[in-house]
């Protein structure tokens, strides 16, 4: 058996971890906004799939990654509007509408892929951009500072989200709407508008998450490309206690599990592949049972808001 504990392997595992955490970060930070406003969007995975497909298809046709990214965000926005319309305006059960969205995204992306592309083809996605000086630091440089724009943005999104939530009037409104919509309403905040905004923001970010899978990590599309990562992203929000920093911790932990699992296979270590693949999902279940602090859960999460009258 070869020695797996070398610097090269470790740096490889960590590099993969950083890359793999990108879709988790986008999707889970977006879902954090959505949930803080009181809406659980279980359709994240579906959004990632459909947006991921469109990003891939745009790059497949034009080779322009930015066009792909833009299209993914648009798909996210449209699906976010669908989710908000059904669960905020029509006040349907959020769990059901989310699952509907997920199935729509899964089915639609498979269908379009079969009709428009047919076979698995790879494309050239976002290329790494080495940051001057920082990128030259031994070991760390290649892990942290030699990534593509999407990866950098995902990590910058963590402090940015924190700042919006803690320091702006918008953040205060979002949290108030998720904690006590009647109170927010009584001081003239438009509860539905804030929820639409938060759900759509979450969905656009889920779209970016999908793009980061199809045109940054895998650089291809296939049926069910996400294999449930959107659901893990939802779980990460609970794990992270509805805080961006918590989400970051969770995203890194899960990507590490994923990355380790991949490297075990790459190195040909004798672990049944199906067991290795299971690892992140098992981790999700274990963590959710053990670590979630329900005390921080927005009090109006998953509850429709009805005004006093009618």
């Amino acid at each position: 058996m070869m020695n797996i504990f070398t610097w090269d392997v470790l740096s490889g595992v960590l590099r993969t971890m950083i890359a793999l955490s990108t879709p988790f970060l986008f999707a889970a930070l977006g879902e954090t906004f959505s949930q803080l406003s009181g809406v659980v969007n279980l359709g994240v995975d579906g959004i990632m799939l459909l947006a991921g497909f469109f990003a891939f298809y745009a790059v497949f046709l034009t080779g322009n990654v930015w066009l792909g990214l833009l299209l993914a965000m648009l798909v996210g926005l449209v699906m976010g509007l669908m989710m908000s319309f059904v669960s905020v305006t029509l006040k349907a059960q959020q769990g059901i509408s989310g699952i509907g969205l997920q199935m729509f995204g899964l089915g639609m992306s498979s269908l379009l892929f079969k009709v428009l592309v047919g076979t698995v083809t790879s494309v050239t996605g976002f290329r790494p951009v080495k940051i001057p000086l920082l990128g030259d630091i031994p070991f760390i440089g290649s892990i942290l500072f030699n990534n593509n724009v999407l990866v950098y943005s995902a990590f910058l999104l963590v402090p940015l989200s924190w700042w919006v939530l803690e320091k702006t009037t918008l953040g205060l409104k979002i949290k108030a709407v998720g904690q006590n919509p009647a109170a927010a309403d009584s001081v003239g905040i438009n509860v539905n508008r804030i929820r639409y905004f938060s759900v759509c923001l979450g969905a656009v970010l889920a779209g970016v998450a999908g793009a980061s899978l199809s045109i940054s990590i895998a650089n291809l599309f296939q049926d069910n490309l996400t294999s449930g990562q959107g659901f893990i992203a939802v779980a990460l929000v609970y794990f992270g206690g509805w805080s961006p920093v918590g989400v970051l911790g969770g995203a890194l932990l899960f990507s590490l599990a994923n990355s380790a699992q991949l490297w075990l296979q790459v190195l040909g270590i004798n672990v049944p592949a199906s067991l290795a693949v299971m690892l992140p999902y098992v981790l999700t279940i274990v963590v959710l049972t053990v670590a979630v602090n329900r005390g921080k859960q927005p009090a109006a999460l998953n509850k429709q808001f009805f005004r006093g009258e009618n």
């Binding site: 702006t168 009037t169 953040g171 205060l172 108030a176 006590n180 009584s186």
Partner: protein, 519 residues
Amino acid sequence: MKVMIQHVEMKGIVKRFPGVLACDKVDFDLKAGEVHALLGENGAGKSTLMKILYGMYQIDDGSIVIDGTERHFHSPADALDAGIGMIHQHFMLVPTMTVAQNVALGQPSSRGFLLDLDVVSERICELSAEYGLKVNPNDLVGHLSVGEQQRVEIIKALYRGASIIILDEPTAVLTPQEVDDLFIILKKMVKEGHGLVFISHKLHEVTALCNRITVLRDGKMMGTRSAEGVERHDLIKMMVGRDLKTLQHRDYNPGPARLEVRGLHVTGDRGVESVRGIDLTVHSGEILGIAGVSGNGQLELAESLIGVRKVDSGSILLNGTDITNLKLNERIDQGVAIIPEERMLDGAINDFSVQENVFLHDHMEKSFRKGIFLDFKTMAAHARELVREFTVKTPTLDTPIKNLSGGNIQKLIMARELARKPSVLVAAQPTRGVDIGASEYIHQRLLMQRDSGTAILLSSEDLDELYELSDRIAVIYEGQIMGIFERKDTDIQTLGLLMAGIKPGDPPKPEKVIAACED
């Protein structure tokens, strides 16, 4: 500050809800520098009338005139802009946020889209000092007492520049001392030129605080009186439509102990110990009142007595036999009757008919069965008898009880429970949300039951009611009994202090220092 409103007039206000005429051509007016009380029973339309003024409901007919100009408010934001604020019966606060965040919420910030909590805090401190509100901008609202939360609501209204402030039953949740404190604050506000609407159904508060009193009954205005020299029974008559019977003061001859509680410890829903070592005895022929501000363990105590909450340690004896480990059903069979706190949740099944609700427990009784079948004829006769005896107003026995008013549901539950001739009755807030007429009836029934020898444990947040009915009163505070008194040996003031955790002879609590407001 905005220009102070001098005169608000509501003329011929009509508001319909499906099947209810909540306001029927009501006239109401308020001047700067006065407290105008809105008095009336539950469902009289007080909240509705004021929610109209606050822009939450739209009128079907009538007009609102402010300082001579007719106004239409389409939302609370409109009303706030015009200088009208409202403090709701259920506070509109976000418990996970600080006082300053709650005040800033929905208000334009001096820094655009960035929060300006330091500026807000400063203004809170100013207002706090000006009106004697004692509020710390950095406290988490969820950690504040009910009285403090109410002051946060007042600050919110003042911060938004409200010159007219509507207070919807502001005293319902307060201890007597907190009520006194609130009145001092309100009087200060009036002196500063604010106009206040004070909604209540407690006569003595209304006469103590207000300048004018308007009475509503069933959506109709019954008249406006000046508070000076007004007769209590006149107001009651306007509210209820008839005179109330006064309760006679009764002899107190307790019999043998029926219910004994020894060293009871019980854990509440949040995992904290809610009942911390309680000893109580209730005798045959007495009403033992449990006084306390809500959330001090009275709910958990009642729940453990009837067997729906696990006891950690200690014991409960019924007529000398240990029932600590018996289930609810078994306790009922042993002679415990229950009037639960949430009648719609725990006392009855909303979609079941009147008759079905009467037999929720007793359908297994031999007298209501024919072999293995139910004897509907006898059951209907029994139900009809109870409905008649307890004057439950219902169209038929088959009416689902969700269509009955709160008072009638409560009477039905009471009829069902008392029909079993219980040896112990646990009554938790039996008149909460029940109108005065039905409350009066329930009070009389409780006293009759006491005279017939039942031991009654009564908990109520309405200290006046508790004091009127009880032979002995135990004050509960943070899960412990602060003292048990015979009614004749105590008064409402003493009880109120104990409810706040202050024992007679204790040095007065040090003034809370508001660190954030000091330079």
